[in-house]
Subunit: 350 residues, 4 copies
Amino acid sequence: MLVVMKAQATPEQVQAVCDYIDQLGFRAHPLPGAQRTAIGITGNKGEFNRGNLEELSGVAEVIRVSKAYKLASRDVKEEDTIIRFAGSDATIGGRGVAVVAGPCSIESREQAFAIAESVAAAGAQFFRGGAYKPRTSPYAFQGLGLDALRIMAEIRDRFGLRIVTEAIDAHTLGLVAEWADVVQIGARNMQNFALLKLAGKLRKPVLIKRGLSATLEEFLMAAEYVMSEGNYQVILCERGVRTFADHARNTLDLSIIPAVRRLSHLPILVDPSHATGRRDSVLPMARAAVASGADGVMVEVHDHPEKALSDGPQSIYPEQFALMMDELAQIAPVVGRSLPRGIHIEAARA
Amino acid sequence: MLVVMKAQATPEQVQAVCDYIDQLGFRAHPLPGAQRTAIGITGNKGEFNRGNLEELSGVAEVIRVSKAYKLASRDVKEEDTIIRFAGSDATIGGRGVAVVAGPCSIESREQAFAIAESVAAAGAQFFRGGAYKPRTSPYAFQGLGLDALRIMAEIRDRFGLRIVTEAIDAHTLGLVAEWADVVQIGARNMQNFALLKLAGKLRKPVLIKRGLSATLEEFLMAAEYVMSEGNYQVILCERGVRTFADHARNTLDLSIIPAVRRLSHLPILVDPSHATGRRDSVLPMARAAVASGADGVMVEVHDHPEKALSDGPQSIYPEQFALMMDELAQIAPVVGRSLPRGIHIEAARA
Amino acid sequence: MLVVMKAQATPEQVQAVCDYIDQLGFRAHPLPGAQRTAIGITGNKGEFNRGNLEELSGVAEVIRVSKAYKLASRDVKEEDTIIRFAGSDATIGGRGVAVVAGPCSIESREQAFAIAESVAAAGAQFFRGGAYKPRTSPYAFQGLGLDALRIMAEIRDRFGLRIVTEAIDAHTLGLVAEWADVVQIGARNMQNFALLKLAGKLRKPVLIKRGLSATLEEFLMAAEYVMSEGNYQVILCERGVRTFADHARNTLDLSIIPAVRRLSHLPILVDPSHATGRRDSVLPMARAAVASGADGVMVEVHDHPEKALSDGPQSIYPEQFALMMDELAQIAPVVGRSLPRGIHIEAARA
Amino acid sequence: MLVVMKAQATPEQVQAVCDYIDQLGFRAHPLPGAQRTAIGITGNKGEFNRGNLEELSGVAEVIRVSKAYKLASRDVKEEDTIIRFAGSDATIGGRGVAVVAGPCSIESREQAFAIAESVAAAGAQFFRGGAYKPRTSPYAFQGLGLDALRIMAEIRDRFGLRIVTEAIDAHTLGLVAEWADVVQIGARNMQNFALLKLAGKLRKPVLIKRGLSATLEEFLMAAEYVMSEGNYQVILCERGVRTFADHARNTLDLSIIPAVRRLSHLPILVDPSHATGRRDSVLPMARAAVASGADGVMVEVHDHPEKALSDGPQSIYPEQFALMMDELAQIAPVVGRSLPRGIHIEAARA
């Protein structure tokens, strides 16, 4: 914490601020400058309550210096976190580019299987599909619930895809943790701290989507909530933020990728589907995500988007997905990564 | 819904779009213009799934026309909603200006009583105090919980103040509904749809704070979630949105007041404390709120803000609160309202 | 300037940063903390070039402390700046609330005179009207130019109103300075530094509208540009900023009023017409502006807004303007101000 | 234009709106819907002045449909615009990826030549360097002016690099057009319409940087201003927009790339240096830009960034630039492009 005094502050005012800080058990370090004096605050006693500091005579501003997240920080753990899955060589956060694909919502067993088959064939290692949908309107389709979870468990068995799906409250959190491989916390729940704490008690990886107006610090604090309860398997996911720009649904903020790399050891994916809301922007942004160094992408794929019960306009076709995989496989080596391919991609290209 | 065709679209393309719309059971109305053709869509079949519409040949854009909220809309109910409380003449939404005041968090019985006494003396009709705190950091003070609810229930009995406090999950929702008079849903939970639905099953008024990046439509849709479950006693609360501006914690958006008036019958309060985060901005923004036509204000008051466990720098002193009440009482008549005063204000002024 | 070291930084790294700072002629003040060391930088040598500071081993972050504006700051001049006009008792920045009113564009002598008469009758002291219009589209009406300036000069002579109008480049700046009383720099030119410098060479008051995404510091730096050339008569004007919110054209940011008061001695007006873009929001926001402590308002008035060549939907009718004046006159005393009235208001009310 | 009526609007109100529209010489097309009636407006008479439309009884909303830009639109010209330079095979907008590189400011002949040599060696075809700097502070370094233009002209002769530099007013526009190959209009002047019109009279390519809060439509309208004066050689440049996010100086909005592709035929570059303000983010965002389909990148390179007179912290080192060129050369083929290489890249890699 740093207290900046006004230019006109008297030596007595500076002293009074120092005394106040000392009195609270911290240490004050006055730093006389050419125009103003600043006062550094150090100490071991936990968060300093700015309290009346800004109100003391002569004080111009109080600046916070230390970051609030600890477990999510590279200060605490320098090496990258890699999320692994028993019985699979898929990882999130390692040298491979993780690809999560599937429909916005699970609508039926047939639809889900058809899409799963096509994305598995193209090389995806993870399958996404909504069972519980947080919809802006109470009148919109809310998801198939437990039936959807069961369908996705079958998909895991059949295609070897790991399952990523969203939980929206305490009840569904338990169900998702039981049936799926990665528990997703949606953007609108990124600061639902009660839910984050419960997710911290799970022993399954938790994928947290960035809130629509979340700063990087808040995003990492959401991860910190989960980690502070003992669950260190946290995956971040950038999905666009809300700005004045109206040419895409949200503004995809890829510059968060190098920033997360610098400050945190956690892996970060990018969801170009929700970020842009437009099919024709998904491939360009997926390529950009991998080029920027993201640990993977999460995209919506639908075989009949015109009939999708949600998010049709942003879902890409299976053949576009195969093309995307091909493009990402070419970009990945530029950033020292690779895309799991083998027969899948070859098949898709053939 | 309106489909805008590209300038170069052929008559065949226009026809194909019309056929597609008809086929889905809606009616297409082609509108040839000087440069482009637009196609209106009407019908009775619920939400139109844009599906592949934007992908059809020749289509430039699809524009949604109808609003998704219904119960919250003035289209459905023209007269203003007024929230009343049994055994009290305090209202939210009528001719009176509702004033909710109290500390950010209940810290102790002594602190809460001292503050309650001073705000009651100055004319407040509602007392606010956090029992369950949604804090950005898992390491920050999280509230006294049930003890705080009990203290506030005593305050109601003693000072006649109605109690407003926040619930953060299903469990605390039940407790708050039992002990308090108004159940608050915080800004970070404005799109926690699971919680909103549960709040809709209560028979207590629900105060919903605007999310940090919520559009007016999303804000009204949050109200719609509560109302769609049968609870029509909803109060909106503007508390600032997140923008690039850095001179206040958030940007208080008072222009939402006339917009809510136009579109909805629900009452709306303004919280200048959380919006600005600065004590010296609370009174100016409280005055502005009432002048803009808000139904009331919600402010943080603390007798020793320098010792507050949360939000000290934005809490005003009891004497500032009394001054604020005096100022609001003078502004209220300009907008055809009044502030409940009587002996309270007189005493505060003496 | 403050350098924050990483938690793992070694004493040698801290020393190397201190040496680097000293070498550049500044003084380094290491501040060992519980987790990290911070290093304060002081010195008399002008702006410190952060240069490679953030790149040195062990450095986590560099934080700038001192503000860049000087002449616009209260640090340099504590008392409020009041703009006065020869031969008039109208002021901007004193105890009176300044009211600037008129059409978006001067369309004809008849239109301008009719509107001027009605706003003068209601008590306005300043007349605004566009002569040179900065329009988003090159195909839109661009203003009557010099003819408009001549019409407004006649209006000054006839009604005693001081004239405020916008200049958009070097050429029109000279003309506006010659014919008008206050030279307006529009929001889109707030960082047209070449124009600001030229405005600094004038000896007429300059009104600077806040840019659509200007921070408070940038806003004050625009004023500093004008003042640094010797023209200290600067008036600020808040007119809404661009955010994601879509219920008004822009988001009026009234919380900048107390912030400007705190940091600067310059007067600040509020323009609710451009901020909201909606007639039904102008009066609520004008009232809120005065209640928040603004030095005045600037509003668009048109006698036939449906025929206006620009900004019709946000122009209020003369009778609404008279009502607004009446409302502002009631609110002004609450903030220790008054609205110039006399026969004008009385007439308007009668 | 589309008028949406309120749900309660009477047939008489609908008729009155239609009559009003007809009366203004346009054609009204009523579209009765299940809940509301909408009224389409068509006509050949230029921009419809919404005027009082929103004020007529029963009107809920007025929605604008047609876009204001014409010459910049793909509706008018379907094939991509390619900017060519006499005596050079460098293009902006074709199959090649254009790379513009150089220091923020020209500081001396030595500095400029050293940097030019290194970027030419690595394959850049364009050299950028500030001669006239639009600085936020009037006290900051403002550029070497004409001397800088002369140095850059020498660089063109010596290294075959085409010169891109910024003009800030009418005077410098003439000089830059005389000495340089591409005239840059900076972000802060994107809506300096007077300057745009003058740029439209030039016969040199004009590069327009996106304003910090410019929508895509406003960005294209800035291009339209230049084109409406007869200069069709316009290059767009995305350089980040202003949002609440604080981990980078601005938020780079790459999703504008596919949107520009869809709506306009003009080429678009990306400037990752100004967008992020951080050296460690420049390469990731440059890669992402090319992967997203941008026509090229514009980056700041400095051989001694710690001594740079402006923007040191965001300038990359020559060796980082060479690495970037190598990375971009690998990504370009994925989007059907190539990077001009030959001996340059080979040399840089060796």
